[in-house]
Amino acid sequence: MDEFQEILQDFLVESFELIEQLDQDLVELENRPDDLELLNGIFRVAHTVKGASSFLNFDVLTHLTHHMEDVLNKARHGELRITPDVMDVVLESIDLMKALLHTIRDTSSDGGIEVGACVVRLDKISGGDGDIVSPVVQAAVVEEELEELIEEMIEETSTEPDYENMEEDEIEAEIERLLAQRQNEDKAKRAAKIAAGESVPEAPPAPTEEAEAKPTPKLAPKPVPVTPTPKAVLHHDDDNDARAAAPAKKAPTTVEQTIRVDVKRLDHLMNLIGELVLAKNRLIKINDDVEERYEGEEFLEELNQVVSIVSLVTTDLQIAVMKTRMLPVGKVFNKFPRMIRDLTRELNKKIELEISGEDTELDKSIVEEIGDPLVHIIRNSCDHGIEMPSVRLAAGKDETGIIGLKAYNEGNQIVIQIDDDGKGLDPVMLKNKSLEKGLITEKEADAMSDKEAFALIFKPGFSTAASVTNVSGRGVGMDVVKTNIEKLNGIIDIESQVGVGTSMKLKIPLTLAIIQALLVGVQEEYYAIPLASVLETVRISKDEIYTVEGRSVMRLREDVLSLVHIGDIFEVERILDSSEHAYVVVLGLGAQKLGLIVDTLVGQEEIVIKSLGEYLKGIDGIAGATIRGDGGVTLIVDVVALMEMAKGIKSTVASSSNETAQIAKEKSKASDYKVMMVDDSKTDRTIMRKSLEPLGITLIEAVDGQEALNILKQGDHNFDAMLIDIEMPRMDGYTLATEIKKYNRYKNLPLIAVTSRSGKSDRMRGVESGMIEYITKPYSSDYLSSVVQRNINFKSEFLS
């Protein structure tokens, strides 16, 4: 980046920051036109921008800011009263200034925007002749300390073409005034310093200033050359700004210690933390496994300690990094006073905005996304919510409507609440309008609760405005609000009462990347549901599920909750037998509720959201994926989409098709019988084979439980019985039997334990896990053969 670019970047960053504060100050100013501090602050912004832009040769911007400065200057010397009309022009010029800065940011030049008209209006306000500042000839008179003046003059010489038209005495007067002003400020500052207990040397003004400028060493004043180089101008500009800002900001010593960091670096850091959280989850899982296997070992305690420290630090680290990305929501709120002001004038209403909780912090990416939805909501409140003053008076309300905008923390969420005391939402009217526009059917309208009716305003194409105004009524906007908020995983909650007002709550998660989720299981699959949308979980038995109009419902305390099976939504094949009981996860999204039936609840876990990538994006009902502790991928449920999908799904819950597909195939020859032998010992398998081969049945071998289970899952063979050794690596016989019995189709598969364990408790365990016969090693061939024959109903005619 060359030097110019670098300076330009600094200039833009600084200017945008200044302007952000400006809007709020200006509206404030309208209420308190005599507040000198405010005026000075505003003046300084115009001034700083002018100074820097002239140096960077942005003539249009300089021209505009110069005239703004004139008006503001008059105002702060009490020569001009700030009336709403004056304010309109000033605000207009600020808007132009913003537009120019945006143009500069995008194109590095300030062309293409017409400022002439605005400048003329500004001039008119400031007294027709406009320009007030001193010509260059006066430079000799000016003292060293008047850097501000000098700088102004330099700017005048370089950018302002018509200073020569100015009148002598006017210039004189201006200099006098600025001098007096400066001295007053100095005096005030000195007084403040003395009051603060600092010894201020009774020296000539210049050194005093030097002392005052100390907190930021780089800004230490330099001797001012009469014809400074451009670089020097910039420095003085900074210099000036810092000092000028000092009195407004009270004690100059409390400079906030900050570093500007590229957001990309923070994002990268955030990604790394995400990986770390995944690794941590994995570590915890491994720790659990190890604990189980080496119970009582000494090193376990040490391992435990390390794991808990790592997990603690990771959590703290995650919070700390999250905090670096946090911005106060006030950054967004700042622009609303101005917006409300413009709207009140445009709509001829009287509206006051009350902001609170602007210090509440939110992730930067969310702060950026939240602005537009808020604009729409507040515009809507102004246009549709707050009534005309006369109507309000007639209704016995205060003439001035109040819109409240507040932000606060609620658990793991940030709530932004927008209240108005306007006419409120009328559910009946909303339903009628929607019917008129064909957005809903009569049947739907009848079944709608008030809350659901309020949610109609978020439907695309919906508008209650009788006529389309500049402000709203085109029927776009509120649906954009909804999509934007949902994009942030947030929800909108509306409460309203006719004649009293409306309250809208936007609930948004603190951060986007890492969320708390409830893990649920269906058959052999797992899904993660964002915990923010989970209201509660309940365990029900199958007969608590009723069917109404082809939909499953259940009674949850006072309410009737519609149900949908997660397996129906995600097309899960029902292989495993579903037990008598089911779990219902009650999902809540704004006013909507839905019961999601799942087979198992696994637990709560912190998950890192990963996208499914370009190839699989936009799958209905899936918001993304996460990597679990065991390295597997688990899909994250998109609750919003899921609720939509649930509407189109007919119930299969009640009639869970329990047809045991166990079609006993007719056996026509001995080799139609299939028996699996599961044993880790080659010798044992050979002995079994030797015993059973004479029967002529088909024998399949597996070396451990895992392999046996895989063979079963593939479903290539239809087994008539299984011979299972108990002690095997990877998966033992008991576990295998338990797993097999989970499958519907293997419910009746005879499992025969073949083992050297002969204790009573071993037998008991065998029975518990679903084994029906227990053969202890060693056994005779005939015995094994007869047991197998009995269990597979071997037809004797096949015996050769």
Partner: protein, 164 residues
């Protein structure tokens, strides 16, 4: 002595030139079998080749998209080329492999029946795809002629493109 040395050096240089000029006309491919046919993709589009491991099913996708799997922290789609090419699915064997292909930011794993080998083939031995399958929609980039038969070269960008 020095003459001889020069001669050798010259010879080496010549040989190198020949190799270099040949390199320009040679395409390096990795061959694999799906069903009864042999296919190939450019070696540079392959990120890695791995043995099969568990994946997670994704709902509401065509049958040939098996799901997603975890490749060192990245979630990557898994596509079964047998199903995609209209040959019935088959149980995975010891020879089954996942080929992870990349084109820019697009990454996906593809299930193939078995790998054959890395192939060097001269550009002039590669003919265009048969007319009947021509058009923008085809997955076939060209057909490579070898001594012992032909090999179908696939377009990686088309393979990685979502078509549902």
């Amino acid at each position: 002595m020095s003459d001889k040395l020069k001669e050798i050096i010259n010879q080496q240089a010549e040989r190198q030139n020949v190799v270099l000029s040949q390199l320009d006309d040679i395409v390096q491919l990795v061959g694999f079998v799906i069903g009864d046919e042999e296919y190939a993709v450019p070696i540079l589009s392959i990120q890695e080749i791995i043995k099969p491991f568990p994946w997670t099913r994704v709902p509401q996708v065509p049958k040939y998209v098996l799901g997603v799997f975890n490749l060192r922290g990245a979630v990557i789609p898994l596509i079964d080329l047998r199903t995609k090419f209209g040959i019935g699915a088959k149980k995975h064997t010891d020879e089954t492999r996942f080929i992870v292909m990349r084109n820019g930011d697009d990454v996906a794993g593809f299930v193939i029946d078995r790998l054959t080998m890395a192939i060097r083939i001269k550009k002039d031995k590669i003919g265009p795809a048969p007319d009947t399958v021509n058009g923008d929609e085809t997955l076939i980039d060209g057909v490579g002629k070898q001594e012992d038969g032909i090999i179908t070269i696939l377009k990686v960008d088309k393979l990685l493109e979502r078509d549902f």
